[in-house]
């Protein structure tokens, strides 16, 4: 290998062989170092939650990644290229400018026996965000989310003053064997924490005065989305071994769905529904 080694001689074969070997070593080392360096950069820039979501999103089944404009029928099929962050999406901006969303009828607040008030916007991870009069935004679990988790055994809420990011973890809920992270619908600083009994979980203050909520579902989008979610729930329940198909009153999800399916892998069902595969 080295000129002072006994038996050393340079020939074309040595050049080719050692050249290829070192190229491979350099490529492999560069790849690793590059990945480490990028990881360090991500950590220092606080992109962990963003990456966690992107990684989760990547693992969702193709059907679960469909664009919101598929829900409204503008596309027959389209996979979201922005991990559900429509704020970055040019297509969404164009479409929303072309066809502003119709106001949903007031009666639609009650969808399949569940309450989805239209005074707020919905995140696809079953949370809602409601702008409050004081400029803050309250964040809570939507009705389906609440029914899925029933009365939580424990809730890990973020500390006051900490920041949450849209599609990042807002808080964690434990219920029976289920342990899921709940995605935050908005960016902001936590100014108050609530709980199940208070009707909301977080009250957040916009980070720079303005709360961008373009990526959240609203009005006429909610019903088709929920239809799809119930389909997904049915599928998830079947997949996770729900053997008793009765949902108390003829199909309306009961207030505590988990209790109705004692033998089901509830962690998996919740993972599916809260977009944490």
């Amino acid at each position: 290998m080295l000129p002072w080694n006994y038996g050393f001689h340079f020939g074309a074969a040595s050049y080719i062989f050692l050249g290829a070997f070192y190229t491979v070593l350099i490529v492999v080392a560069t790849t690793i170092i590059n990945a480490l360096w990028r990881a360090r950069r991500d950590l220092s820039k606080g992109k962990v939650e963003d990456i966690r979501w992107h990684s989760d999103f990547h693992d969702l089944s193709a059907a679960d990644r469909s664009c919101r404009h598929v829900l409204t029928g503008e596309f027959t099929s389209r996979e979201c290229p922005h991990a559900f962050d429509c704020r970055e999406c040019a297509t969404h901006a164009k479409l929303i400018a072309l066809h502003p969303l119709a106001q949903a009828a007031e009666a639609e607040e009650d969808i399949f026996g569940m309450s989805f008030p239209l005074d707020r916007m919905y995140h696809r991870g079953h949370t809602w965000a409601r702008p409050e009069a004081d400029g803050t935004v309250t964040v809570g679990l939507d009705d389906l989310g609440a029914r899925l988790l029933g009365t939580p055994d424990a809730v890990d809420l973020p500390g006051l003053g900490s920041h949450v990011h849209a599609n990042g973890t807002a808080f964690r809920i434990h219920r029976r064997e289920a342990d899921v992270r709940i995605l935050s619908p908005v960016d902001g600083e936590v100014v108050e924490t609530g709980g199940v009994d208070r009707g909301f979980f977080l009250r957040v203050k916009p980070l720079n005065g303005l709360m961008d909520m373009r990526h959240l579902l609203r009005d006429a989008e909610v019903k088709p989305w929920l239809m799809r979610e119930l389909e997904r729930l049915q599928l998830a329940l079947t997949m996770e071994g729900a053997s008793v198909p009765s949902l108390a009153d003829g199909g309306v999800p009961v207030s505590d769905i988990a209790a109705a399916y004692p033998k089901t892998d509830w962690d998996a069902v919740c993972g599916e529904m809260f977009l944490e595969p």
Binding site: F17, V28, L36, A39, D59, G241, G251, A268
Partner: protein, 433 residues
């Protein structure tokens, strides 16, 4: 109480939404393999401490069971590089379903072979000599360089699978590193493919260059004997077949469906096509060898097959029975769609490649070269067999742990629904829409 806590911890590491056996059952499954591994470690330890006199190899039968095993498992582990190549370079998206399994199998095969090689050499501590004083004309140098590089690549490719574990990815550093590494995985797949092509080939060249062993010697192109190319094709052909066999075996053991039929079908098709190319190339190579190469060295080819038990049947078994027959089955859509045909065909293809490696290593050494010499035979000692069994147990253990805690088959969750008997009751929530 402690037991319960242990089970709880165990459960937290299992991928969400997949069913795994209970902790005690898993431990029960591990026990025999751990015992075998310990026995293997003891055997290998004897060989390392007391020397290779613990084996039954001798001065005339200098390579034995281990070399045969190394060559075979590296060929079978070729699924790792070839699947990676098909998925990341040629974009066969369906193969995503088995790529993790292929990486684990590759890792097991390569690290197992490496471990066996370390026991096999007389002075393992001098292994670095090959890197320091490389003889670039030796096939073994090429093998050593490529296998150690590729093992590194496989370890790096295995890393995202491990870090993707549900519990481990809670650690921000792991999560972020896995994410960034996964984005660059195609680079590693490319490097892995390059390395694999060369070392599968140089493993073939290992015997093909042996001018002093006319049974193994082959003419070739440039510096590479024909076996160089035959080994590449055969390894690429049998890698997918071995994946079919292992996936099927894991399905049988766990009672789950792990990959869709179309994945099996695709693997079978790829295997079938490559296997038929291999059979054709091998046939041509054999004819050239019988009619030109071997007589050119003063050895008529028929004499090799006069030494019992290595009659011409071995040639027939290698090329027709374990080559052409599985290739035809794998190429016939109607046959490969049925497990009863697919699995035996894939297994037969694997056996064919094992037989080829056996012929290359064991038969080559058994045949005499000097006219007054006799046919040599050798039976592995229990230490050799023990070391081999240890490698086997190691493989099973790594695979078992990987299967339990990591997402080896991403389609497993989707397929869960299909094994359950269709329920008679009205589907959930049906009345509503």
């Amino acid at each position: 109480m402690a037991n319960h806590m242990f089970q709880q911890i165990d459960k937290e590491f299992i991928t969400r939404g997949v069913r795994r056996c209970s902790t005690p059952r898993f431990i029960l499954w591990l026990v025999p393999w751990v015992a075998l591994l310990l026995f293997g470690a003891y055997s290998a330890g004897l060989c390392l401490v007391k020397g290779l006199n613990q084996t039954n190899m001798d001065n005339r039968y200098a390579f034995g069971l281990w070399i045969f095993v190394d060559l075979t498992i590296i060929a079978l582990g070729a699924g790792a590089f070839f699947t990676g190549f098909l998925l990341y370079i040629l974009k066969f998206k369906e193969l995503k379903a088995v790529i993790n399994s292929a990486v684990v199998i590759g890792l097991v095969c390569y690290s197992g072979a490496m471990a066996a090689l370390m026991v096999d050499v007389g002075q393992p501590l001098r292994a670095w000599f090959t890197f320091w004083y490389p003889n670039v004309h030796s096939m073994l140098t090429e093998v050593t360089f490529c296998i150690s590089c590729y093992l590194t690549v496989l370890l790096i490719e295995y890393l995202p699978i491990v870090l993707k574990n549900r519990k481990l990815r809670d650690v921000p550093g792991f999560l972020v590193f896995e994410f960034e590494l996964h984005k660059l995985i195609y680079v590693l797949a490319g490097v892995g493919t390059f390395l694999s092509f060369f070392h599968q080939g140089s493993l073939g060249g290992l015997y093909g260059v042996l001018r002093g062993r006319p049974f193994a010697f082959r003419e070739g192109i440039f510096v590479w004997p024909s076996t160089f190319f035959l080994f590449i094709i055969s390894a690429a052909a049998v890698g997918p077949s071995f994946l079919i066999c292992t996936t099927w075996l894991v399905e049988k053991i766990t009672g789950k469906r792990l990959a869709k039929d179309r994945v099996f079908d695709l693997l079978a098709r790829i295997s079938g096509i490559l296997l038929s190319v291999y059979v054709l190339a091998k046939t041509i190579d054999t004819l050239i060898w019988i009619n030109r190469t071997s007589p050119g060295l003063g050895f008529t080819a028929s004499q090799y097959y006069d030494w019992k038990p290595f009659g011409t049947w071995i040639l027939f078994a290698e090329i027709v029975l374990c080559g052409l027959v599985p290739a035809l089955i794998l190429l016939t859509p109607r046959l490969r769609a049925r497990r009863a045909w697919l699995i035996p065909a894939a297994a037969l293809a694997c056996c064919g490649i094992a037989l080829n490696r056996y012929v290359q290593t064991v038969q080559t050494l058994a045949l005499p070269t000097l006219s007054f010499d006799k046919f040599l035979s050798y039976t592995p000692s229990w230490q050799e067999v023990g070391t081999f069994l240890g490698v086997l147990a190691y493989g099973v253990l790594v695979y078992s742990f990987s299967f339990r805690y990591f997402q080896i088959f991403p389609e497993e969750r989707e397929l869960k629904i299909e094994v359950r008997p269709q329920q008679e009751e009205e589907p959930v929530l049906a009345g509503r829409f």
